[in-house]
């Protein structure tokens, strides 16, 4: 989801409740919102914007399973095939002893895999410069942004001023 090189009209609101009401009005008027930017998660915003549940956790399950297999099969190969030794009179294939490391690698693979996936999907990472609309949306402003190719600029500005936006601006990211 890169917003690079898009011309937008956006309004900054001072209160998240006002913004929630504004999103409802936009849905009624069928104005297509490009995105909403807020400094913190707002309860009830996701269903209003029609956002689907993230599928990141499915990735997490796959990465975790991969970690389970890596650890378990890896230890099996090392302790049974490659370098069999006897520890404390236990058999080479001592499943209980493998469980803690299997658990650790499951968590490690799931965590790192999900972080990397998240960064790639969102175009984040070291050295990447992402455009931002206004620095105050990380502090105390709540922003609704429209793409002028999708919504007429005049309509968008009228909507923003009607629903109580404190500031209305246009810019190209």
């Amino acid at each position: 989801m890169s917003y690079r090189n898009r011309s937008i009209v956006y309004g900054l609101y001072n209160d998240e409740e006002v913004l929630l009401d504004a999103v409802k009005v936009a849905n009624e008027k069928h104005l297509k919102i490009m995105d909403v930017f807020t400094p913190f998660p707002i309860h009830g915003l996701d269903p209003l914007l029609g956002l689907e549940e993230s599928r990141l956790h499915i990735g997490g399950f796959v990465y975790g399973s991969l970690g389970t297999l890596t650890a378990f099969l890896g230890m099996t190969w090392i302790f049974v095939q490659d370098w069999p030794q006897i520890y404390g009179g236990k058999p080479h294939w001592s499943v209980p002893a493998f469980i803690p490391i299997t658990f650790e690698l499951t968590v490690l693979f799931a965590a790192i895999g999900m972080v990397v996936t998240f960064y790639i999907i969102n175009g984040l990472g070291p050295g990447v410069v992402n455009p931002y609309i206004d620095p105050r949306i990380t502090d105390d402003k709540f922003c609704i942004a429209f793409d002028v190719h999708e919504v007429n600029q005049v309509d968008a500005e009228a909507f923003l001023s009607e629903t109580g936006a404190a500031e209305i601006n246009a810019k190209t990211l």
């Binding site: 309860h43 009830g44 549940e53 399950f61 404390g88 009179g89 469980i99």
Partner: protein, 426 residues
């Protein structure tokens, strides 16, 4: 606004009473039958072990309900307030649990049963050279009838006091609360905070006495935690089942998928916590390979393999894979399915903790020595009489809980966290 649409009084109808009374009747019939159909195990060990098994299981659920109310109050939690009366009703079963465990305790004095090897006085005397048991003699400062009956009884009475007090304050808050100082809630916070360490230490002592001491030569420092986690998961599972039932009957209209989601998360998390403790106990004993310790698992793996491995499958594999997804914790179907599986699963877990040790003691008391394999009714696997007894105790538990529930408002209307609970969002 939302509060006014809710039914605030629970009506414990004649039909519900009748169903639960029939359930209790079934339990009594099964207990009488198991008293006589003892499968060749002497001293009515089948009857008494079933009695102990179910008393311990349901008393523990009541304790965990009390404990969790105290945890939530101390943690400033607000999500549960809307249905806290259900836990308060569960907690009142402790009084019945006290009576049930007292019967077992009196039975030790009057030699009604031989559940506990350490209760035999003759093995503690060094002059009886043939039967003298140095290990149990060494443990006799703790494993004795005074600790079991007198101190154990006092500990349960302390639990009863806190369960009663927390509910009484909550009910009084309905009538006289709502002041600007939240004086009732402040008072509850004191009692809750005082109960946490008391419950933490005393529950461990009771678990050692009631459950771990049936394998009287064996001990494990993790055992109390592991049993406590088992109780806790059972309590959450029963809470979900009761809440779903009450919602179907039109009560608790405000208890939403959000509240069930949190209950589901607790059930999921504590199932994994249980597995973690189970495995930690197993792996340390397996690794160290000391004969005194491995005997517990050796006995169970050799003679009870279905129960032993099945225990892990139903109490870990099922909740782990079913409840892992977000939506399965929010849908009644999956949530009720897992709750039933876990309630039975942890009952099964207690079966596996108690029965092998009791059978071993019964065989020793009957003068049998050496290995004894083969099938013993009521011990090798839970039979029909065991399941019937469990249903009887479950009916008793629900009868007490519903009676208590019907005697107060379902909504703690002056609880300062009520509004937060109504707007709970996960």
């Amino acid at each position: 606004m939302e509060k006014e649409n809710t039914i605030t009084e629970y009506n414990f109808t004649g039909t519900s009473r009748l169903v639960l009374l029939i359930g209790m009747g079934l339990g009594v019939v099964c207990m009488i039958l198991s008293f006589f159909l003892d499968g060749g195990v002497e001293h009515h060990a089948r009857f008494w072990s079933n009695f102990l098994h179910n008393s311990v299981f349901f008393t523990g659920i009541a304790l965990m309900a009390t404990f969790f109310i105290a945890v939530c109050i101390t943690a400033w939690a607000g999500w549960y307030t809307i249905f806290k009366r259900v836990w308060e009703a569960f907690s009142q079963f402790l009084i019945v649990g006290f009576i049930l465990m007292l019967i077992i305790g009196i039975g030790i004095y009057l030699h009604w049963h031989h559940l506990y090897h350490w209760a035999d006085q003759t093995i503690l005397n060094p002059e009886n050279e043939e039967v003298y048991d140095a290990i149990l003699h060494g443990k006799s400062a703790f494993l004795n009838t005074t600790w079991y009956v007198i101190i154990g009884g006092l500990i349960v009475l302390v639990w009863v006091f806190f369960a009663y007090k927390l509910r009484a304050l909550s009910l009084d808050e309905d009538q006289n609360g709502g002041d600007a100082n939240f004086s009732h809630h402040r008072s509850m916070r004191w009692y809750a905070a005082a109960f946490l360490p008391i419950a933490g230490f005393s529950s461990a002592a009771m678990i050692w006495l009631w459950i771990m001491s049936v394998d009287s030569h064996w001990y494990s420092t993790l055992f109390a935690w592991y049993t406590g986690a088992s109780w806790f998961v059972s309590m959450i599972a029963l809470t979900i089942l009761v809440l779903v039932y009450l919602k179907n009957r039109g009560y608790f209209a405000n208890v939403s998928a959000e509240h069930f989601h949190d209950l589901g998360k607790f059930m999921f998390a504590f199932s994994i916590f249980w597995t973690y403790l189970w495995f930690s106990q197993y792996m340390l004993i397996w690794y160290a390979n000391v004969g005194e310790e491995t005997t517990y698992f050796k006995q169970r793996i050799d003679h009870y393999p279905v129960l032993f491995y099945g225990n892990l499958i139903i109490n870990f594999i099922v909740p782990f894979f079913v409840l892992m997804r977000n939506d399965t914790k929010r849908k009644y179907g999956t949530l009720v399915f897992v709750s039933i599986v876990l309630l039975l699963g942890h009952w099964w877990d207690f079966f596996l903790m108690l029965k092998p040790g009791i059978l071993h003691t019964a065989h020793e008391a009957a003068g049998m020595t050496g290995e004894h394999g083969g099938f013993t009714p009521g011990f090798t696997i839970p039979g029909l009489l065991e399941i019937g007894t469990m249903l009887g105790f479950l009916s008793l538990f629900l009868f007490v809980a519903f009676s208590v529930l019907s005697r107060s408002s379902l909504v703690a209307k002056n609880d300062p966290f009520l509004e937060e609970s109504l707007h709970h969002h996960v």
